[in-house]
Structures are given as C-alpha cells and as structure tokens.
C-alpha cells in the first residue's frame, strides 16, 4: 500500500508537477502579483506607489463608461457566440456531406486563423474603408457606399462580422470532428426509417454533437470576451467610442491614461465575469449532454 502510494506520488511528481509548476510560474504568480497591484495607485512608470485598498474597484464600478463598455461587450459576445457557432455548424454539416474538394474547402474556411488578430484587423479595416466603398460606388448599393466603420451600429456589425469570420472556421474544425464521429450505422438506420434531412439533423446529429457544442460555446465565450486585437486595429473603439469593448477599455485605462492600478482592476473584473459566465454555460450544456 505504502509502496503503491510512493509510486503514485512519484508519478504525480514526474507527470503533473512539471507542467503545473511552469504554468504556476507563468500565470498564477503574476496573477497574484497583479491582484496586489490593483490595491495600489501605481501609474505604471513611477518607482513608488501607495496602497489604496479597494479604491480602484470602487472607481471602476462608479465609472459610467466602464458600465457602458460592459454592456457593449455583452451585446458583442452574444452575437459572436451565437453566429459563430451556427455558422460553424452549418459549415461543418456542408463539409461532411461528401462533396468534391472537401479538404480544400476546409482549408479555405480555416485560413482566417493563420493570421494574427492585429494584422487581420488592419486588413479588414482597409477592406471596409477602401474596398467596400469602392464596390458601393460601382454598384450603387446604399449600404456599401459609406464605410461601415463610421457608423456606431455598423461598426459594431463590422466587428462582429470579422470576429465571426475568424472564429467560425476554428469552430468548424471541431464540429466537423463531431459529425464525423457519429457512427454511420446510426445515420443509415435513420435513413431507412425515412427521416428527412432536417429531422436527421435535429433528432440525431445535433444531440450527438452536444459535447462539441459545449466546447465550442465555451471557447467562443472566452475568446469573445477577451477580444482585443481586432477591436484595436479594426475600429480602435470608434466611431466615438461606440465599439470600445472591455478588453480595449482596460488597455486604454492602463496605458493611455497612466492609470495602471485601475486598468488592472478592470481586468480582474473582466476575469471574474468571464469565469462566472463560463461556469454557468458549461454546467448548463453538460446537463443537456446527459439528456
């Protein structure tokens, strides 16, 4: 017994401790230090700072622009999560239907992930401000004539479009895997029973990929809440701060305004919000999987 226990401890030390140790050094220790910094008035440059307790958190919650930005972030996250998952599922369905050049198409849809967020945001910025307006001029389609990035609502739409464009390709890969994993006998049996395509999807395929849905929704939620790169380079929060999402807001507070402690406190608040929402989402979808 004790021999076994010793062996187990050795196994734990060999296999679990090294990755967790590195992870703790890289993530947990800075996180704890970061929590400490939220209790200070450090401006990011100075060598000296004072402990000011929870003042930064009080400032965050009494700041109406923070609450504004939080609401915008919720709207953005909602549309991104829903649309990227729906599109991801549709793409995966189409790409498991056995059409020609399936793998080339999969590459096309996944390609958006091969380029970093900041640069991608710039490219889309040029597309919205140079290319789409050009198409608008030529075709006389009203909605394309002015840049989407200059209207508060359309700029948010543009931000959602670009995020969905990137994320759905990523989620598609996971959904393709989910669909390929459905035993073909199940599908055959259903087909012999005369189920139509919609019923097949609704009654058989969808329930069988629920665990993929859990993972994908979880990933979409965390990615959307932390969306920063695209926000910075596509709209930089504009026009007139209408698309300033939380992660960008944190960055602005910490770096543009020299209020590091407050920016850090905002980031901690974001972390807590994402954690709570993710826990709720995972436990709800896990329950659905059991059914």
């Amino acid at each position: 017994m004790s021999r076994k226990k010793r062996k187990n401890i050795r196994l734990f030390c060999e296999f679990v401790v090294p990755p967790m140790l590195i992870w703790a050094l890289v993530v947990i220790i800075p996180l704890v230090y970061g929590l400490y910094l939220t209790l200070t008035d450090w401006n990011g440059l100075s060598n000296a700072y004072n402990i000011i307790g929870l003042q930064n958190y009080a400032d965050v919650f009494s700041d109406s622009t923070f609450v504004d930005s939080l609401l915008k972030t919720f709207i953005y996250v909602f549309f991104v999560v829903v649309l990227s998952n729906v599109l991801g599922i549709i793409l995966a369905l189409l790409l498991t239907a056995g059409i020609r050049m399936q793998s080339i198409f999969r590459t096309c849809f996944f390609a958006s992930n091969m380029i970093g967020g900041i640069v991608m945001g710039y490219i889309w910025n040029y597309i919205f401000s140079f290319a789409m307006t050009k198409i608008g001029d030529l075709t006389n389609i009203g909605i394309l004539k002015t840049s989407w990035l200059t209207d508060p609502v359309m700029a948010m739409v543009a931000l959602i479009v670009v995020t969905v464009w990137q994320l759905s390709g990523y989620l598609m890969v996971i959904y393709v895997a989910g669909f390929s994993n459905i035993p073909s006998e199940v599908l055959e049996a259903a087909r012999i029973d005369g189920t139509n395509s919609w019923q097949l999807f609704r009654m058989i395929k969808l329930p069988m990929i629920m665990s993929s849905v859990t993972i994908c929704t979880f990933m979409a939620i965390s990615k959307a809440f932390m969306s920063f790169d695209v926000n910075l380079s596509l709209t930089s929060g504009g026009p007139f701060k209408s698309t300033e999402l939380l992660a960008l807001k944190i960055y602005q507070t910490a770096f543009s305004n020299f209020e590091y402690g407050k920016g850090q406190a905002e980031a901690v608040v974001l972390f807590v919000i994402v954690a709570i929402i993710s826990i709720i989402q995972v436990s709800i979808s896990k329950r659905k999987e059991v059914n």
Binding site: E14, P18, N43, G44, L45, S46, N47, I118, S129, F130, T133, K145, T146, S147, L149, T150, L232, G237, G238, P239, F240, K241, Y251, Q252, A254, F255, S256, N257, F258, Y260
Partner: protein, 443 residues
C-alpha cells in the same frame, strides 16, 4: 531490469529537457543586448526609443553613424510598435528604461520624476532653440526635461494650383483674413467644380488639433491659456457662451459644410485624403505641415503646395487669423532612474549628435522642420518653406496649452465629442457641455 532502464532513461530525458528549458530561460546569453550598461570591452550601452513609426532604417543608420564616431558607446535601437505609451511603460516596468526616448510633451512631463534635467549651460546647442519651444518641456520644478526634435505647424494645407484652376484667379493666402473671406473663397472654388475643404474625421485631428484652437493662441500667451483652462476646470466658465469657443466652432462649421468627405465624414484615412488632394478633387485640407508625407507619393511636381492659418474669427484685425500655430511635437529625453552616470553622459553625447550630427538626415527622416536656428538643411517638403516664412515673420501664436496642458487622453475623449458633432449626433451646446464636463473631471 531492462524495462526499468528504459523508464529511467525516459525520465532522465524528460528531466534533462526540463532543466535545459529552465536553464535556457535563466541564462542571459548573447541575445540579451542590454544589462547594466557596461559591456565587456568597456563599452557603454545605451538605448534609443522612438515613437516615430516607419523610420526604423533611417534611425538605425543614424545610430550606426554615431557608433562609428564613438566606438566606446553602443546604441540599442528600440522601435515603436503599436502603442507608444504601452511600450514605454513596459520598458520602465521591466527595468529596461530607454536611456534616450523621443516622446510627446505630456508624457515627458508626466514622467519627469524619472528623467534627467537638461541644462542649456552644459548642452549649449539648446540655446539655438526658441525659448518658448524649450519651455514646453519645463517640469513643475522649473527644470527642462526635453529637447524638442522638430517644429511643426497645424493649419490649412492648400494646393495652390487646384485653387487657381478652379477659381481662375491667382491665390494669395494672406488675403484670407476672416472667416467670411474663407467662405467667399470656398464658394468660388466650389463653383469651379472642386471640393473646397477637407476634414479627416479622426479623433486626433478633430479632437486634438482642431479643438485645441479653442484653448491656445486665441486666448493669448501661455499664461492666459493656463488661466483659461484652470477656470474651465474650476467650473467658472460656461463654455457654451464663450466667445472664442463659438468662433472656433463657427469656423469648424465652415469646414463641415464645404467638406470633401461630407458624405461620409468620419471615414478618416490620411492616405485616401492625400490622394484626393493631389488628384485635385479637394483644394484645402485641415492638417499640418507633416501632412506632406501623405501627399508626397502622388503629388504632381508642378503643383504648388503650402500651409496657411485657419481664420478663427470674423474680424480682419484679429492677428490670430494671420498666425500659424507652431509647436514642438516631440522631444528627446534622458532617463535618470535606471541608468548609470556613464550612460547619462553617453546619452547626452548621443542627443547632441541627433540634434546636430547629421541634420540633413534627420530633416529627411522627420519630414518637418528642425527647431535649431543654425540648422542648414534642404527640406524636400515644399510646405516647410511656407511654415518657415510664417516663423521668420513672427506670425505664429503660442500653442502652449496644446503641447502641455491637454491631458494625454484629451484627443480620444474629446475627439469622440467632435466626431459626434460633425455627424450631427450632438449639437454645439451639448458638445460644449461634454468638453466642459471632461475638464471638470480633471480636477
């Protein structure tokens, strides 16, 4: 036995990989260029951080030239990437504070506790710079913390050729003495089938540059500007009924009315706007002499370009309408908090080199005028000649408040207000209230 050996070997490999990766991280090998500043060969290592993007190779060439002349000093060049302040803060936080930085005035003053006071009796070339430019970098303690690297002017960039072709008359900018003069000119240009004016609807141009005119020369000198801002902060002034505010905004309305970009005012791309100007679709542009860099690549060499003041009032006797707002945009500063005395001495030498060593190369790099009275350089930009003529005739107004008193988030916060005003989402009184609220929150 054999199996155990295999396990052992594998765990050994893993352990080795672990130690290696950790050791590799722990070792400061050749890839680490900085350090405490004293290299093995007695070299002093300093660093240069620039917030002037897109000029890396030119700056590196200047660093090389300096190192060749000073073999005992090594300069590490740190390029700007996406956010100038984030990078600066990161460098300070990591104990890698750049020895020499090129920063905006507000940032230099904000960080003055970490910077080295610069003394013109030691760095005598500072005397070549107009005192009012140097004073912009004066900290609360009366010491100077920055040496301006350039002098720029904001105003109306114009394409003289386009204007003359559209109006059929010769154009002399000095005839535009009032807002009504500007309107009359616009009407004539418009009749010629050209968009008279252009605004780039971005927050920095509207919120920082255009709006700053409410707080600068129109108030008088530095003291008047400071006094006015203090009274706004204290809530003693009602901006809505302030004469200068209404004057500046009346002029802004003229720009908005005759704006080439009026169908989509916030599209805000300097490259597209530059091409609109060089192709003769727009005649005048609210920008500054640095705007030549947006025109240069497509400008017709036969076209004549220049810069003129923005007529802010409707009274021909107001000197401000004939004066250009000239300001030192960025400055060199030297860190004192994370550097040794040798590094600071080397940094002073290096700053002197950047100011005097190869002025032609620096002028080409910056594409705006150098602030040194003795500078003998040829500017490729035709607009600079225009700026210089205003400077030489003394027709400039103080931009003290613009350089120093506007907080570092002024442009983004109030740029948003000006954008809303431009697209009609906010009326003038609401804009005034929003800007006033911003100031009062600064107290």
């Amino acid at each position: 036995m054999k199996r155990q050996n295999l396990t052992k070997a594998l765990s050994l490999i893993m352990a080795a990989a672990m130690t290696l990766s950790l050791a590799a991280c722990g070792s400061k090998d050749s890839s680490d260029g900085s350090g405490d500043g004293s290299g093995a060969s007695g070299q002093t290592t300093i660093s240069l951080y620039t917030t002037i993007p897109g000029k890396d190779s030119q700056f590196e060439a200047l660093c090389d030239e300096f190192m060749e002349a000073n073999p005992d000093i090594k300069v590490d060049y740190i390029a700007y990437d996406s956010s100038e302040k984030q990078k600066w803060m990161t460098l300070y936080s990591s104990g890698q504070a750049p020895t020499v930085s090129i920063m905006d005035a507000v940032d230099i003053i904000q960080n003055s506790e970490n910077l080295l006071p610069l003394d013109s009796s030691e760095l005598t070339f500072m005397n070549q710079i107009d005192q009012s430019y140097v004073d912009v970098f004066k900290g609360a303690d009366g010491q100077i913390y920055g040496i301006p690297n350039s002098v720029q002017a904001m105003g109306i960039l114009y394409n003289k050729t386009t204007i003359e072709e559209a109006t059929g008359e010769t154009f002399d900018p000095s005839t535009i003495k009032t807002r009504d003069d500007l309107i009359a000119l616009c009407d004539k240009i418009q009749a010629g089938g050209v968009a008279p004016l252009m605004l780039t609807g971005v927050d920095w141009s509207l919120g920082s540059h255009f709006l700053s005119q409410v707080f600068t020369g129109i108030r008088g000198g530095a003291e008047e500007q400071e006094a006015f801002i203090n009274s706004v902060k204290a809530g003693e002034v009602d901006l809505k009924s302030d004469e200068a505010w209404n004057n500046v905004m009346d002029t802004f309305d003229v720009f908005a009315k005759y704006n080439y970009n009026s169908s989509d005012p916030l599209v805000g791309n300097t490259d597209i706007d530059g091409q609109s100007m060089t192709s003769g679709k727009a005649a005048m542009w609210f920008m500054g002499d640095w705007g030549w860099s947006y025109l240069e690549s497509t400008a017709d060499p036969n076209d004549e370009y220049g810069i003129m003041p923005v007529p802010l009032t409707n009274n021909a006797d107001d000197a401000i309408n004939q004066q250009l707002g000239v300001f030192p945009a960025k400055a060199y500063c030297i860190d004192a908090s994370q550097t040794t005395e040798e590094q600071q001495a080397a940094a002073k030498k290096f700053v002197e080199f950047l100011c005097l060593g190869n002025q032609q190369a620096m002028a080409d790099l910056l594409a705006v005028a150098l602030p040194f009275a003795d500078a003998d350089v040829n500017y490729t930009s035709p607009v600079i000649a225009s700026t210089q003529s205003y400077i030489q005739s003394g027709n400039t107004y103080s931009t003290y408040a613009f350089s120093l008193l506007l907080p570092s988030d002024f442009w983004s916060e109030n740029g948003a207000v000006m954008q809303q005003y431009l697209v009609g989402q906010m009326d003038r009184d609401a804009a005034a209230d929003a800007i006033q609220a911003y100031w009062q929150a600064q107290e």
